[in-house]
Symmetry: C2
Subunit: 124 residues, 2 copies
DNA sequence: TGTATATTTTAATAATTGTTCATATATCTA
DNA sequence: TAGATATATGAACAATTATTAAAATATACA
């Protein structure tokens, strides 16, 4: 419960307690730049979805086309395509065209590492 | 658009194309166990939120109590508490009580590594 | 024991996100 | 160039999730 003060109409309310001012200031000073934070949030969020994480791990074994992924995931190709676009916007996956078919793959080894570290963490 | 077949009432419909059967089968065979996948999704999802990621990076510098975090994030203590519970359920953070105050910290070095790897990835 | 502080919990609303459906684009082949 | 295949896109709905508000614990202190 916020602390209450005797106050009149002109009193500025301040319901924020500050127990450890120094810790708060340190956190503020060392906070990630908004840009980094947002990029990181979007990457974690992208992988924080069953469909997309399955896509990522499937692609970690080699490239697949949209309809392969749709068959594997038992989802519509449209649904898969939407998710792939999201992953592509974040440079987590890339594609190459061979005729009518678009083959998707992980964008680079860094993405693979990212997945591997996560998996190690979970398996301990 | 799914392929269509001439069919009667008893024909089993199959609108799923299978361009590269082998790739699909490999993906199916090597798919992560549901349990691992779910845990991993929940962890990525937990960090895929601005508030929680800020909390995680703040705690990476040292423990803080709920009201410190609320002041730092300019959020209600209730909101912070909700997010902390979520992080705690996933063993990403832990707490210790000192009197009335609960101090939160990252659960272990592994979590720190997880954050660090992500950050490196973003900063390239 | 009673009151204040620090945090948690529950329920409800508000915001976000995944999937579907319909349509559009891009490439191939006849 | 027409029709088929492979994928992408936009809009809408359904499901999920974050935040708020109010009430509930849990500890300290007088």
């Amino acid at each position: 419960m916020p602390r209450t003060f005797t106050e009149n109409e002109n009193t500025e309310r301040c319901f924020i307690r500050r127990i450890h001012r120094d810790r708060i200031e340190t956190a503020e000073k060392n906070a990630l730049p908004k840009r980094d934070l947002n990029r990181l949030v979007r990457i974690y969020k992208a992988l924080g979805d069953g469909t997309r994480l399955k896509i990522a791990f499937a692609l970690a074994e080699g490239e697949m086309c949209v309809c392969d992924l749709a068959a594997y995931l038992k989802l519509s190709e449209s649904a898969v395509s939407h998710q792939l676009r999201l992953l592509r916007d974040l440079n987590l996956v890339k594609n190459r065209r061979d005729g009518q078919i678009l083959y998707y793959a992980l964008d680079d080894d860094h993405v693979f590492d990212f997945l591997r570290i996560g998996l190690e963490h979970v398996r301990e």
